[in-house]
């Protein structure tokens, strides 16, 4: 039996920081509420004007959009204000401390991200229950859909973790290249389907997107939830997600090694 080392509590960093900053929590709550109201009324309006589009009825589209807002809350924490982003650690030179502790930086990063996600999950779940009760979001069609969605969401967040990690890891090389990072973040939001479900985009775009990991983060689980991807396709989609997890896990491990080499050759 392995006992969890006490270091798992590194995961508390982000939630603690948030709890110690109540104004930030109020702001997050307000933003979430406003976004949900706006998104829901936007899609209601669109459907009133157009009827069924892209193989999706109004309630499905609204559920998708609201869930996308809720899910984006999972990792949307103001680490910049907490001075705890990799780019800030590179900038202030405090990244050296990540390499001065008896815990590999990759484990520290992963534990911290896990804590952040669990904290975000609490928010998302609460928001989901409220939306469900208010009838803004449709419940899943069946228990099987719910289960597959949960698994796919877990995989999706896992992929998202790696995508965000790659973006952070780039900071080890491109300290002054914020533009590239912004493009990547925009691509993540667009191609994961946060802005609008991917089926509304032209075919070439959907094809392009299918070769990238972004849609595995959100588009796939949400499509499973609203029924745009049938359960019969779920196994395939889940295996694609799992494939991305493996590929990105190997890639980020490689990048961690390169990043460490860069730190020890430049002295942080």
């Amino acid at each position: 039996m392995t006992v969890l080392p006490p270091a798992w509590r590194v995961g508390r960093v982000t939630p603690l920081g948030e709890l110690h900053t109540p104004p930030r929590m109020t702001a997050a709550l307000l933003r979430l509420a406003v976004q949900i109201v706006l998104v829901a009324s936007l899609w209601h309006g669109l459907y009133a004007a157009a009827g069924t589009t892209a193989g999706l009825d109004r309630d499905q589209a609204v559920s998708y959009a609201v869930l996308a807002v809720l899910a984006s809350r999972l990792r949307e924490i103001d680490q910049y204000a907490a001075r705890d982003t990799v780019i800030q650690h590179m900038h202030f030179g405090t990244i050296v401390y990540w390499y001065l502790r008896p815990m590999p930086p990759q484990r520290y990063y992963a534990l911290r991200a896990l804590g952040e996600q669990l904290y975000g999950l609490a928010w998302s779940l609460a928001g989901y229950l409220v939306c469900l009760a208010a009838g803004v979001v449709q419940p899943p069609a069946s228990a099987a859909v719910a289960g597959v969605f949960a698994l796919s969401m877990l995989f999706g967040q896992w992929v998202l973790y790696y995508v965000m990690l790659v973006i952070d890891q780039l900071c080890f090389w491109t300290l002054r290249n914020g533009a590239a990072l912004l493009i990547l973040i925009f691509a993540q939001n667009l191609l994961s389907g946060v802005y609008a479900p991917l089926w509304f985009f032209p075919d070439w775009f959907i094809t392009l997107s299918s070769f990238l990991p972004f849609q595995a983060t959100l588009s796939v689980p949400l499509s499973l939830y609203v029924g745009r991807i049938p359960l019969s396709d779920a196994a395939f989609q889940l295996s694609v997600q799992a494939g991305w997890i493996v590929v990105l896990a190997l890639f980020t491990r490689f990048l961690w090694r390169r990043a460490a080499r860069r730190v020890i050759s430049q002295g942080g």
């Binding site: 080392p5 006490p6 270091a7 798992w8 509590r9 590194v10 508390r12 960093v13 603690l16 920081g17 110690h20 900053t21 204000a81 907490a82 001075r83 705890d84 202030f92 030179g93 405090t94 050296v96 401390y97 390499y99 001065l100 502790r101 008896p102 815990m103 590999p104 520290y108 730190v263 020890i264 050759s265 430049q266 002295g267 942080g268």
Partner: protein
């Protein structure tokens, strides 16, 4: 061996691209980058014994921080070796991390958004320190550094002096035998500085920690270190006891004489030079480096015999002057 530091022929060269000035220069740098080698540390050798506090001194850019980074395992040397508490730091970084504590004065390891005590708790978890031990150590540090008045404050709201004190405590919470401090007293007022010195003395004398410290504050060196290592342009200039350095470098004394007649012509005497003159006030100092210089008594005799004086006072030069002379001489030797 438990807490000793061994440095043998340690060298570090950085390769950087030269940025040429101007727009055309920037374009040329882009197409044809010019690489230069910067020898930040060259062939440095010294030892620090268990329970010793050594000050690593040198002017800006001398290579002090680079040396410390190699000893903490953040940076790999280009050549040479180092052992810290028996571990080669850059080869076994994690094992080394358990043996050392480090503070880089301008950089904090504390979590910006959390109360200091939460940062301490996170470090306790990372280093796997038992709770009771952690609490006892915090209490000890609080007695010496008066942390409790602000340790429930978030780091972002601490003053610089408070923050660095917390960083010092944070670096020592896991009871490391070896401690590296890179300008730990930067930006502290005199009272806090004295408090920190007391803390460090306690850590060395009572806890037997080995401390390697860099600073630009000579008072600190005087109060804390018995031995110093001086480096300049990456090279070791000298390694010795403070007294020895005073002896070797320079104006270890000054004579402040008041002339009886303000119009007297004043010139140097054999072995004695005029450092400066303002009206009736003349300051004499020794000629040449300390080892060959006249003693202050011989000089006093010469000056009194030669000039008519209204008064005279003897000053032993402070460490700041000694270091200035040492740096200047090291510069001349290159």
């Amino acid at each position: 061996m438990t807490g000793s530091i061994e440095v043998r022929g340690l060298s570090r060269t950085f390769h950087t691209t030269v940025r040429r000035p101007g727009f055309a220069g920037a374009l040329r740098s882009l197409v044809n980058p010019e690489r230069v080698a910067k020898h930040a540390v060259s062939d440095v050798t010294f030892d620090v014994a268990q329970g010793e506090l050594l000050a690593l001194l040198g002017p800006n850019g001398a290579g002090k921080s680079t040396t410390i980074k190699m000893l903490t395992g953040i940076l790999t040397p280009t050549s040479g070796t180092a052992r810290v508490a028996g571990v080669v730091p850059y080869e076994e970084r994690e094992r080394n991390a358990r043996n050392i504590g480090a503070v880089f004065g301008q950089r904090t390891q504390l979590w910006w958004d959390l109360p200091v005590r939460e940062s301490f708790a996170i470090l306790r978890d990372i280093y796997e320190v038992p709770k009771a031990e952690h609490a006892a150590r915090l209490k000890e540090f609080d007695e010496l550094l008066e942390l409790s008045s602000f340790w429930d404050t978030r780091v972002r709201h601490l003053s610089l002096g408070q923050r660095v004190r917390c960083d010092l405590a944070a670096a020592l919470l896991h009871d490391p035998p070896v401690v590296f401090l890179d300008e730990p007293t930067i930006g502290m007022d005199v009272v806090v500085k004295e408090q920190v010195r007391e803390f460090l003395r306690h850590q060395v004398a009572e806890r037997g920690r080995t401390v390697l410290l860099t600073t630009h504050d000579m008072t600190e060196v005087e109060r804390l270190a018995e031995r110093v290592v001086l480096i300049n342009h990456g090279r070791l200039v000298l390694d010795g006891a403070l007294d020895e350095i005073r002896r070797r470098f320079g104006s270890t004394w000054q004579l402040r004489a008041t002339l009886a007649d303000p119009h007297t012509e004043v010139a140097g005497l054999p072995g004695v030079v005029v450092v400066r003159r303002e009206g009736r006030q003349v300051v004499f100092g020794p000629e040449g480096p300390g080892a060959e210089a006249l003693s202050v008594h011989q000089a006093l005799k010469l000056v009194i015999e030669r000039y008519e004086l209204a008064g005279i006072a003897i000053d032993e030069a402070d460490l700041e002057d000694v270091m200035r002379a040492a740096y200047a001489q090291a510069e001349a030797a290159l």
